[in-house]
C-alpha cells in the first residue's frame, strides 16, 4: 500500500512538473526569441510578463471550438489526446534524482526503473506520431494531410538514426535501464565524453522527433498554412502546441540523463553532505542541465532556418544513418579492445 502511495505521489509530481515546465517553456520561448532579436518579449501580464502562460491558457480555453463539418469527429478529438498522452507518458522512466532515505527506507526519485527503459521511450515516441497523423488525416484538409504525411515520414526516418545512436550507448553501458545508465556516469564520467558522435546524432534526431526548427516541416507555415493542426482551434490546438513543449522538456531530460550524467555532478563525494541533501542537490543540478537543453532547443530555433524537405530526407537517410552505423562499429571495436579480445 505504501508503495502505491509513494508511486502515486511521484506520478502526480512528475505530471505537474512537466505541465508547469511546459507552460513556462512557452513563456521562455517567447522571451528568448525576443532577446535574441533585441526585443523585450511579453511583459504586460504580471511583473516581467510572468503570468503570460496563464493568460495564454485562458485565451486558449475561451476560443471558439470548431470541428469541421467533413472531419472525422472521433479521430479529430483522438489526435490531440494521443499527442498529449504520449507526451506525458515518457516521464515515468526518467531518473529525476538519486534515492531519498526516509525513516530508514530508500525511495528512488524515479517512478519506475524498468529494465527496458530506453525501449519504452522509443515505443512511446513512436506512438506519438499517430497523434499528428490521425489529427492531420481527420481534419479532411489537404494541408493538414500533407503535414501529417511529412510528420510521419520524418519521424520514421529519424527514429532509425536515433535508435542506432542509442545502440552504441547501450553497447558501452551494457544496460537498457536509464537509472542504471545514470548510475554509471558518477562524478564526471559523462557519456558525452566517450560518445561524442552518438550525442550529436542523438540531439539532431531529438530535434527532428520534437518537430522543432530546423526540422519543423510538419507545421511549416510558409508552405502548409499551419501543417497538421491547420483546422484545430481552442484547447485542441493548445494540446498540440503544449505537447510539443512537453516533448521538448522530456527530450532535454533524456539527453541530460543519457549523455550528461543525469543527477550526477563532479566532486559529489567531497562535499560531505547528508545523503538526502545530496539527492536534492543532484535533482536541482539535473533540472539545471534540462533547462540548459531547453534553452538550447530555443536557441537553435531562433538561429537556423528550416530545412527543405529533400534536404531533410537526405540528411536523415544518407548522413545520419551511415554515421550512426559507423559509430556502432567504432564503439564495438573499442568495447572489444577494452575487454582484451584483440590480445
Amino acid at each position: 500500500m505504501e508503495f502505491i502511495i509513494v508511486k502515486f505521489v511521484l506520478v502526480v509530481v512528475v505530471f505537474l512538473v512537466s505541465l508547469g515546465i511546459a507552460a513556462y517553456s512557452t513563456y521562455a520561448e517567447r522571451k528568448i526569441a525576443a532577446f535574441l532579436q533585441d526585443r523585450v518579449g511579453p511583459d504586460r501580464a504580471g511583473p516581467f510578463g510572468i503570468l503570460q502562460p496563464l493568460a495564454d491558457g485562458v485565451k486558449m480555453f475561451m476560443k471558439e471550438e470548431i470541428i469541421p463539418t467533413h472531419a472525422d469527429k472521433g479521430l479529430f478529438i483522438l489526435g490531440p489526446s494521443i499527442m498529449m498522452m504520449t507526451a506525458c507518458m515518457t516521464g515515468v522512466v526518467i531518473p529525476w534524482g538519486n534515492t531519498l532515505i526516509i525513516n530508514g527506507t530508500e525511495y528512488p526519485v524515479q517512478i519506475t526503473d524498468i529494465n527496458i527503459g530506453i525501449l519504452y521511450i522509443f515505443g512511446v515516441v513512436s506512438i506519438g506520431v499517430y497523434g499528428i497523423m490521425i489529427g492531420g488525416w481527420a481534419s479532411n484538409n489537404k494541408y493538414s494531410l500533407m503535414g501529417a504525411i511529412r510528420a510521419s515520414s520524418q519521424m520514421i526516418s529519424y527514429e532509425l538514426a536515433m535508435g542506432m545512436s542509442i545502440i552504441a550507448l547501450v553497447m558501452m553501458t551494457g544496460t537498457l535501464s536509464i537509472g542504471e545508465i545514470v548510475k554509471q556516469q558518477e562524478g564526471m564520467h559523462w557519456n558525452v565524453f566517450v560518445q561524442p558522435l552518438g550525442f550529436i546524432l542523438f540531439i539532431v534526431c531529438a530535434f527532428a522527433e520534437c518537430n522543432r526548427t530546423p526540422f519543423d516541416l510538419p507545421e511549416c507555415e510558409t508552405e502548409l498554412v499551419g501543417g497538421y493542426h491547420t483546422e484545430y482551434s481552442s484547447m485542441k490546438l493548445g494540446f498540440y502546441l503544449f505537447a510539443e513543449y512537453i516533448n521538448m522538456f522530456i527530450s532535454s531530460a533524456i539527453i541530460a540523463s543519457l549523455y550528461f550524467g543525469g543527477y550526477n555532478f563532479p566532486f559529489i563525494a567531497q562535499l560531505g553532505l547528508p545523503h538526502n541533501i545530496l539527492t536534492l542537490l543532484g535533482t536541482l543540478i539535473f533540472f539545471g542541465k534540462v533547462f540548459f537543453f531547453i534553452f538550447f532547443f530555443m536557441w537553435v530555433r531562433w538561429t537556423l532556418p528550416r530545412f527543405r524537405y529533400d534536404q531533410l530526407m537526405h540528411v536523415g537517410w544518407r548522413v545520419m544513418i551511415p554515421l550512426a552505423l559507423f559509430n556502432i562499429l567504432l564503439t564495438a571495436v573499442i568495447v572489444l579492445w577494452q575487454n582484451g579480445q584483440f590480445n
Partner: protein, 168 residues
C-alpha cells in the same frame, strides 16, 4: 482465480473486439487504427507473460513503424466507395470458399487439440533482455544470422525494384 485472470480477460476481449473491428470497419483508416489498437492489446498479453522486451519491440516495430507506413500509404490513396473496384460474383464466390475453408481448418485444429495448457508465466526472467540476448546469440545464433541474411536479401531486392530502370 477470476481475480488473477481478470487482466487477461479484459485484454483478450479487447483484442478480439478490435480484431473484429479491423474487418468490420467501413473506412480503411479506421481498420488500420483498430489493428494498431489490436497490436497494443497483444503487447499487453506479452507483458502478462513477463516478456517485456518482446512487448517493447512489438510496440516499436509493429505499432510504431510498420503500421505508420500502412497508415501513410492509406492516407495517400484515399480509398472511398466510388473508387472501390467492382468485384464479380466469381471473385466473391472464390473468396467465400477460401475463407470458409480456412475457418474449417482452424475450427478443426482447435477442437482436435485435446486440452489447451494454460500459459506459464515464467518467474525466472525468461523474457528479459539479458536472457533473450544470450539465447539469441548463443543457442540460436545460426537461425538468427540466417534470418538477418534473408532480411538483407529482401532489402536489396526492394532497392532493386525501387530503382529507376536505366537503359542498357
Amino acid at each position: 482465480m477470476l481475480n488473477q485472470n481478470l487482466p487477461f480477460m479484459i485484454l483478450a476481449t479487447l483484442s478480439v473486439f478490435s480484431a473484429l473491428m479491423v474487418v468490420l470497419s467501413r473506412k480503411p483508416v479506421h481498420s488500420v487504427l483498430y489493428l494498431i489498437f489490436c497490436f497494443f492489446t497483444i503487447g499487453g498479453h506479452y507483458l502478462l507473460l513477463n516478456a517485456q522486451f518482446l512487448f517493447a519491440v512489438h510496440i516499436i516495430v509493429y505499432a510504431g513503424a510498420i503500421m505508420v507506413l500502412f497508415l501513410f500509404t492509406l492516407m495517400f490513396i484515399n480509398l472511398n466507395k466510388e473508387l472501390e473496384p467492382h468485384k464479380t460474383n466469381l471473385v466473391k464466390a472464390a473468396a467465400t470458399i477460401v475463407a470458409g475453408t480456412l475457418l474449417l481448418v482452424m475450427v478443426s485444429t482447435v477442437t482436435d487439440t485435446g486440452n489447451i495448457l494454460p500459459a506459464q508465466v515464467s518467474q525466472n526472467e525468461v523474457g528479459t533482455v539479458a536472457v533473450l540476448g544470450k539465447k539469441l546469440y548463443g543457442d540460436y545464433v545460426l537461425p538468427f544470422e540466417l534470418t538477418s541474411i534473408l532480411l538483407l536479401a529482401a532489402m536489396v531486392g526492394a532497392v532493386m525494384i525501387g530503382k529507376k530502370k536505366t537503359e542498357s
